[in-house]
């Protein structure tokens, strides 16, 4: 009996050692791709090299239409490169533990590249680092996870929220050249996105533009119910609001009628786009003379730049020059450039007409159960 147990233990140890050796051998150091001269797959974009790879897209939280469109956009971008032989997706469902174990699982499965939406921020860094150290090309995007490129991961692809703030500020200056009263709404307290957007706005706007909100922004948690409550309080408190700035436009659709109920015109709005918001503007602009609308693209295409980087690094292609996604201006109801306000009443309210992904593909993405 004792001998049998020791034989079993020996076999187990041997197999574990074999797995360990195989695990070590299966990967080349992730930096090797950057040393080799870039290759290029014919007929594919520059970032698509010739080495065949597998790629995984990981979401910390995938449960809203914006994420579904973003995920579909990532998959769409991957299809542009035939060198990617397999694409897989995992949704952390807002559970940090699951998001971490997803990364570990894909590392163990042996994927060559990962793009990671690290919703949990720095909590994701150890898992990201260990995947990178195991030889996976790891590209976190949009949410900062701390760490350094080349040490903890391959490359971080941020979103330039400061740029969004500058775009809003410039537009506000154009419609209100002599200053005005602004109300800025963002997500949870302390979120860096809101801080960066404010930095961008204040770099353009002088003291004649007065922020009515609690500094640095009114906290809404991006929750439509809380947004409505906060907006109600601000409307009651401030008889004059010239512009509302919000980094999640569609969540305002339920809240804006509060102005109408108070017998006031909906003010100008600088925000990010969404089909529901565009349609709301079309339905209400006639009755609300001060309701002007300016949007920046809501940033679904941020993932495309991350995919480009990950694929380039893993397949030996040429990475793009940009390392941060600059959301372009999308709609302007005053000048009509780059686009007049867009509304597709026949399509769901929660698709994003600014995204590159085709409308029918977006509808398919948000309809996917």
């Amino acid at each position: 009996m004792k001998r049998r147990r020791s034989v079993t233990a020996l076999a187990l140890a041997a197999s574990l050692a074999a797995i360990g050796v195989a695990g070590c051998k299966s990967r080349s150091p992730s930096t090797s791709a950057s040393v080799a001269p870039p290759s290029h797959r014919d007929g594919a974009p520059d970032w698509c090299g010739t080495t065949q790879i597998t790629l995984a897209q990981l979401d910390g939280f995938g449960g809203n239409s914006w994420r579904l469109v973003t995920t579909a956009s990532g998959e769409d971008e991957v299809k542009k490169c035939p060198s990617v032989t397999s694409y897989q997706y995992a949704n952390g469902n807002g559970d940090t533990q699951k998001a971490i174990s997803d990364i570990q699982a894909f590392t163990a499965k042996g994927v060559d590249a990962m793009v990671v939406f690290g919703d949990a921020g720095q909590a994701m860094l150890p898992a990201i680092r260990s995947a990178y150290k195991a030889g996976v090309v790891v590209v976190p995007y949009r949410v900062e996870v701390g760490g350094k490129a080349g040490v903890d991961y391959t490359q971080f692809i941020g979103a330039s929220f400061v740029n969004d703030g500058v775009s809003w500020g410039t537009w506000i200056k154009r419609i209100l050249p002599h200053g005005g009263h602004l109300l800025f709404l963002s997500g949870p307290k302390g979120n860096s996105q809101g801080n960066d957007e404010l930095k961008g706005m204040t770099s353009v706007l002088d003291e004649s533009y007065q922020f009515l909100n609690e500094a640095p922004y009114d906290v809404t948690n991006w929750d439509p119910a809380l947004t409505q409550t906060v907006l109600t309080a601000e409307i009651a408190k401030n008889p004059k609001i010239d512009v509302i700035v919000s980094d999640f436009g569609p969540s305002l659709v339920g809240a804006l009628p509060v102005f109408t109920r108070s017998g006031r015109s909906i003010p100008a709005l600088a925000t990010s786009d969404g089909n529901a918001l565009g349609c709301f503007w079309k339905d209400n602009q006639a009755a609300n003379p001060e309701f002007k609308l300016f949007t920046v693209a809501t940033g679904n295409d941020n993932v495309r730049l991350a995919v480009d980087w990950a694929v380039a690094k893993a397949t030996g292609g040429k990475p793009p020059d940009a390392t941060a996604f600059q959301a372009p201006s999308f709609e302007d109801s005053v000048t009509g450039t780059p686009h007049p306000v867009a509304c597709e009443p026949s399509l769901p309210g929660d698709i994003y007409l600014s995204a590159q992904l085709a409308k029918d593909a977006q509808v398919a993405a948000v309809n996917r159960k």
Binding site: G62, N64, K189, D223, A233, K237, V253, G254, D350
Partner: protein, 346 residues
């Protein structure tokens, strides 16, 4: 006899029972007084918090909380806490937005489907608690996960925009009163009349006060307790449908932020967490109190952390009013005579 048994943990001493009744009745008065005082304080310190537009904006959310609170009240009266309020509301929100997908004509079947889910969830909750004798918190915690599973199955976690019809039903006003408030008043009337004015309602409260005594006199304890969970889910369903209409672009997790407040309004209204006598009207008033408190701290323009602290302190004071034995505190600080003098005065 049955009616007399509606105070929690009925004791043999008649004096103790009458003292307890007085304390609970005082609870209803306390929350009403606190609410009036809050409006008074708002008018003096932050007038915008009591302006017409602030109140019109606050009332629909208070109505939703009141309805969810009434559901929670029924479960609390049976000595439980219903954690599945979050999942129940979120599922209703998801069904009535995702199924019609913007088409008002498909709203009615979606509402019927939401009601079907609510009844099923309530029945399972009730059976888990009464037949399998699970603690209500554990049973409803599991049900909450199941309901969120249904949320994902129905919608993939993404509700749609509200249909125009639902937005009008829940978000518009009638004679200047937000429609959601009318729904809340109707729900309140149904709960108050059923529990206070019908034989079944009196039995329901008696069972909550003492299941053992109720069983001894031949009341159908299991049926009443199971129905408490079913009624609760139906009320959460109504709250979810209204919330979907009010917010226009809800999330799939809209019920989460109502879990704690739904218990808070029940406690603030003076209902004992041990079960027994319930206070539907006071629960609705407590919902107005909590939502107006939120408007008040927002109107003050204080930091978010202070807003959270003020609400937490209000809750702590409310709970302390009912759960601390104040006569013992008075005895300890002012000597045995203090209680007697207090008793004389009252």
């Amino acid at each position: 006899m049955v009616i007399d048994a509606t105070t929690p943990h009925t004791t043999t001493a008649a004096t103790r029972r009458s003292g307890s009744r007085l304390r609970l009745a005082r609870g209803s008065v306390a929350i009403a007084t606190a609410t009036i005082a809050l409006f008074g304080l708002g008018a003096a310190v932050a007038p915008s918090s009591v302006s017409h537009s602030a109140i019109i904006g606050m009332v629909p959310f208070a109505a939703v909380l009141a309805i969810a609170g009434l559901g929670q009240l029924l479960v609390v009266q049976q000595g439980g806490i219903d954690v599945s309020v979050a999942g129940g509301i979120s599922l209703a929100v998801v069904i009535v937005t995702h199924e019609p997908d913007g088409d008002s004509a498909r709203l009615a079947p979606a509402i019927a489907m939401a009601i079907g889910f609510a009844i099923a969830a309530g029945l399972v909750n009730g059976l888990l608690v009464t037949r399998l004798r699970l603690s209500a918190i554990i049973a409803t915690l599991g049900m909450n996960s199941l309901l969120y599973g249904a949320v994902f199955a129905v919608s993939g976690g993404t509700p749609r925009s509200t249909t125009r019809l639902l937005a009008r039903i829940a978000g518009d006003t009638t004679w200047g009163i937000p429609n959601a408030a009318l729904f809340a008043v109707a729900a309140l009337a149904v709960v108050a009349v059923l529990t206070k004015k019908t034989v079944a309602g009196r039995r329901f409260e008696a069972i909550g006060a003492s299941p053992a005594a109720a069983r001894a006199v031949g009341l159908r304890v299991r049926t009443h307790r199971t129905l408490a969970f079913v009624w609760a889910q139906l009320l959460y369903c109504l709250a979810g449908i209204l919330l979907a209409g009010i917010t226009h672009q809800p999330t799939a997790f809209q019920g989460d932020s109502l879990l704690l407040p739904s218990v808070a309004v029940v406690v603030l209204a003076g209902t004992s967490l041990l079960g027994g006598r319930g206070f539907p009207v006071a629960t609705a008033i407590a919902a107005v109190f909590l939502r107006e408190l939120q408007q008040f701290v927002l109107a003050l323009g204080v930091d978010t952390s202070v807003q959270t602290l003020v609400q937490a302190i209000a809750l702590a004071v409310g709970v302390a009013l009912y759960s601390i034995d104040w006569s013992a505190v008075r005895q300890r600080w002012f000597g045995p005579g203090a209680t007697h003098r207090q008793g004389d005065a009252s």
